[in-house]
Structures are given as structure tokens and as C-alpha cells.
Amino acid sequence: MSSDAATPMEFWYRLPYSQREKYYNWALNLVLSIGLVLILFPIYWMVATSLMSPEGLFSLPNPLVPTDVTLETYRSVLETDVLLWYRNTIFLAAGVVGLTTVAATLGGYGLARLDIPFKKTFARVILFGYMFPPILLSIPMFIFWRQIGIINSLPGVIIAQTATTLPFSLWLMWQFFQTVPYSYEESARVIGCSRFQAFYEIALPLAKPGMIAVAIFSFAIAWGAYTIPTVLLTSNSKWVLTLGLYSFTQQESVLWGQIMAASTMLVLPTFAFVYYLQKYILRGFRATRI
């Protein structure tokens, strides 16, 4: 700590409490700042690289702030199928978020209100669903999806990708509905609401933070989906953008500038999303009491 007295600890504890708290906070803020720099630097470098000229990229040392900013790389990226892949990514994400949120909300509600034995066991079975390597779920999916004709199609990938989002979401909504008192719905029933009305008008609004948390969780997974689309999407007109990044790696060289530009296009718009929905990310998990 900040002292050159003979016994620093003694000196430290002789300081008034408020002053000690202040120094503690400075130290903790410093650690937090270092953490934030470690988080932000890769993102910054991705954007910076995408704005460098091809020559600037490979002339060392790179300045930390690019001097020759150009949009050249973006222009060459836009000449590829990147916008098509972008649209596919949006479609996939929307589908997975919709399917997961609806199924998990309804299912979570049903499980929370259902009086069945072995509930706890069932909760664990859902979590055990994650113990099977996802890459190996994709093999049977590939074979079966081909047989029923939904291979190489985005709706097929939406259904398949839900395998990675639904178990956790279902479990989360189940936990969430347990924090919504059933007595509210019972009161609604007493004054003549139907069962569906009680669910729709009473329980659902109370569960909104949980639903948003599930939507964000499944969005984050679908937006960055890689493994399942790799296996199930065989033609590059159906690719999502994460697969499209590979088109910039060639036999002998890797077009780093283009990859960073396409990545920037994929990542930057989602930041606004995180900024505005952050309280729901935290609130959704808080209510789950895990």
C-alpha cells in the first residue's frame, strides 16, 4: 500500500477508515481498468486492422493508432457475398431466438406449475443434455436432416441450433417462473379469468425479464453459431457470416484486413444491443436463484 513507514501495515491501519476505503477503491478501479483494457483491446485492434491499407498492415511496427485510415478493405469485402451471408445470419438468429423463447417460456411455465414427482431429477436430465458433445449431435442431424429434406436450408439449421440453446433456456425459465407466485394467477381465476388469461395477463408480464434474458442468451449463441452450420450448410449461398469468414483464407495467404472488416460488420451492431439490454441480462439470471 502507499506508505514508506517502517511497518506499512501499522501505518495503514492508523489511517482513518474513510481514507482507507478511498485507497481501496482506487486500487480496485485500477484493476478493473486493466481488465477493461484487456477486454477492449482485441476489439479495438480488429477495427483498427480493418481500417489499415494492405501495405500498412504488413509494414512493421504497426502504429497503435492507424495513420493511413482507408475504407478500401470494406469496399473489397462488399464485393463478395458478405451481405447475403449477413442476411442469413440475421434470419438464423431471429429463428433461433423466436423458437427458443417461445418453447422455453411455455415449457418453463408448465414445468413450474406441474405437480409431478422427480422434478429435480428432470431438471438434471435437462442439464445432462449438455454432456453430449455438440459436434457429435451434428452427425445424426446431418444424416436425418438429409433424409427429411431440410439439409442445407436455414430453417433446418434453426431447428438444429436450438439444441444448443433450449436446455439451458428451459431450465432458466422454469427457475424463473418459480419466483412468480402462483397465488396471483389463482386470484385472477377467482375473478373469472380463464387459465390462458391468467397465464397471459398475469404470469407472462412478470416473467418478461427472464424471457429477455433467454432471448439474449440464444441470440448470442445463434449470432456466433459455427459448428452446426458448418456441418449442415453445404452450399455457400446458404452460409452464415461466421462461415463466410473462411472465404478470406486462401491456400497460401490469409486476407487479414478483409476478415477483420467482415468481423467488424458482424460484431459492432450487436454492441448497441448489449448496452441497452444489459440490465435484463443480469436481472434474468438473478431471479433464477441458481
Binding site: P167, L243, F285
Partner: protein
């Protein structure tokens, strides 16, 4: 009355269970069954093989080596993610200015796709042009550029650190959510009665986090053990197989050797191993109130 309630509840549960059955249970059961057959990749013919696939896999030292690497990868990742993730949550659960912006920054890795992270990491750690090498040489920590993902001694460590950049935030979110539900009055009472910062952390914060840390360690452990995409893009199992974890090994068995039966046997063994480990984990460490059921 009771039966009507049953009907409604059943209707709400059906969609989730149908999807869960179709995309989780069905492929899993398919793979469990396939592990007892010889399955051709190109023709859907199954030939009964009994436990032959398992014998082949279990006798293969490459399989055991890949399991060992998965354990190293998962254990290293869990330790790194849980410690830094909990620390970050504690740092964020304080009063400071620009809270909204700072929390949003901390949440950034949550939304960055694994493929993007992998390419950015490969670029930053590039042996000829990487900014990490440039900066480290400049401050004098290393004397020459290092191939972070291409050196046998460093590849595993680099992959663990890279994947933790993204997945630590998962720990932070859950721990932070729990921290926010601890009433401030408890801390105030402890402070008034003379508890030091360390005492408050040890006697209030940690016991309250026990339940979430229990489930976080389990989830992160399982997810990292089965992790595929980030390792696949960063190193593809190399150099010289030093990062060939069990899921990479299974992928190769299926898609390079086209031996689906054996790949299914590998995944069955991984599954049995993880379920066994999870049961032991629940048995020995379960806090009294882990899954709250009404």
C-alpha cells in the same frame, strides 16, 4: 378441474419437449445406438458390431491422450474463468462512475462470435505480424516473435487463455446476479461490528456464492470439456496434436476417417465419463439448496 389444469399445463410443455426430443434426445440416442454398429458414411447401412467399436477406441492410445488434453483444457479453463470471472463480478458490484458504460464493456465478450474471436486472436498472435509480439518485444518481455498457436509448448495455454477471454463473462454474469441479491444491510452490519474487508469477503460474500459457483463450475467444466469450435479454428488440434482434445479427435474419426460407428463410440464414452463425473460431483459437493423446487 384438476384434469382441465392438466390439459393446459400439458399443452404448454409439449412444444419444448417436442423440440428437446427432436434435436437433443433423438441425435443422442442415435449416436448411442450407432456406437454398437459399423456405420458407413456414404451409405446408410448399419452392420452389427457389438462392442467392437468400444474395444478399438479404448485400445487406441490417441483416444486416451485426447481425453487427457480435454481434462487439461477444461480444468485450466475453469480455474482461469471462475477466478477472473468472480473477481470481475466483485469489481463490478461496487459504486463507480460510468457504471452503465463499464458494465456494457464487460459484457462485450458475451456477444462476440467464437469464429470472430478466433480469427482476431490468430491475427494478434501471428508469428510475423502479430501486435502481441510487437508490444511484448517493445516492452522487452520477449526478445523475438513467438508463434503463440504454433508452438507445441504454448499452444494449449494460448487456446485456454483465448477461450477464457470469451467465456469468463458467463461466470461474471451469474456471480454478479447473485451478488446483487445479497442485502447491503448485511455488509453494513458487519462493517459496524468491525469486520475487515477480508472478513466480509470470507464470511458473507463467499458463503453466498457457494451455490452459484457449484453450478457454474459444473456447467463451465462440461462446456469446456466438449468445446470444439474455438480449438478447431485456432489450431485444428495442432501443432503435432498438442491441442487435439476429445471432441477434435471425435470429429476427425467421423469426418476424416469416415468411421461414424467409432465416432459414436467416442461420444458415448465421453458422455458416460461426464455423467459419471457429474454424479460424483453432485454427490460430494452439492450445496443444500442448489435447484429450488417448490
Amino acid at each position: 378441474m384438476l384434469s382441465k389444469r392438466w390439459v393446459f399445463v400439458a399443452l404448454t410443455v409439449v412444444p419444448a419437449l417436442a423440440v428437446f426430443g427432436f434435436v437433443n434426445m433423438f441425435p443422442m440416442l442415435w449416436a448411442l445406438a450407432a456406437s454398437f454398429f459399423e456405420v458407413g458414411a456414404f451409405q446408410p447401412s448399419w452392420t452389427w458390431a457389438g462392442i467392437e467399436n468400444f474395444e478399438t477406441v479404448l485400445a487406441n492410445s490417441d483416444f486416451w491422450a485426447s481425453i487427457r488434453r480435454s481434462v487439461i483444457f477444461a480444468a485450466g479453463s475453469v480455474v482461469l474463468q471462475v477466478t477472473t470471472g468472480t473477481a470481475l463480478a466483485i469489481l463490478l458490484d461496487r459504486k463507480f462512475s460510468f457504471k452503465r458504460v463499464i458494465r456494457a464493456i464487460a459484457l462485450v465478450p458475451y456477444i462476440v462470435p467464437t469464429a470472430v474471436l478466433s480469427f482476431v486472436a490468430l491475427w494478434m498472435g501471428n508469428a510475423r505480424y502479430g501486435i502481441i509480439n510487437q508490444l511484448l518485444v517493445e516492452v522487452g518481455l520477449i526478445s523475438e516473435f513467438i508463434a503463440w498457436y504454433g508452438t507445441t509448448d504454448l499452444a494449449m495455454l494460448s487456446v485456454i487463455v483465448t477461450s477464457s477471454w470469451k467465456f469468463t463473462i458467463f461466470v461474471t454474469i451469474i456471480v454478479l446476479a447473485r451478488l446483487q441479491s445479497i442485502p447491503a444491510s448485511i455488509y453494513e452490519a458487519a462493517t459496524v461490528s468491525g469486520a475487515s474487508r477480508w472478513d466480509r469477503f470470507k464470511d458473507i460474500t463467499l458463503p453466498n456464492l457457494k451455490g452459484v459457483l457449484f453450478i457454474v463450475v459444473l456447467l463451465r467444466g462440461v462446456w469446456m470439456f466438449n468445446k470444439f469450435d474455438i480449438i478447431f479454428i485456432l489450431t485444428n488440434g495442432g501443432p503435432i496434436n498438442t491441442t487435439t482434445t476429445a471432441s477434435i479427435y471425435a470429429y476427425r474419426t467421423a469426418f476424416s476417417d469416415f468411421n461414424l460407428g467409432e465416432a459414436a463410440a467416442v461420444s458415448t464414452l465421453l458422455f458416460v465419463l461426464l455423467v459419471g463425473a457429474a454424479i460424483v460431483y453432485f454427490y460430494f459437493f452439492e450445496p443444500s439448496q442448489e435447484v429450488r423446487v417448490e
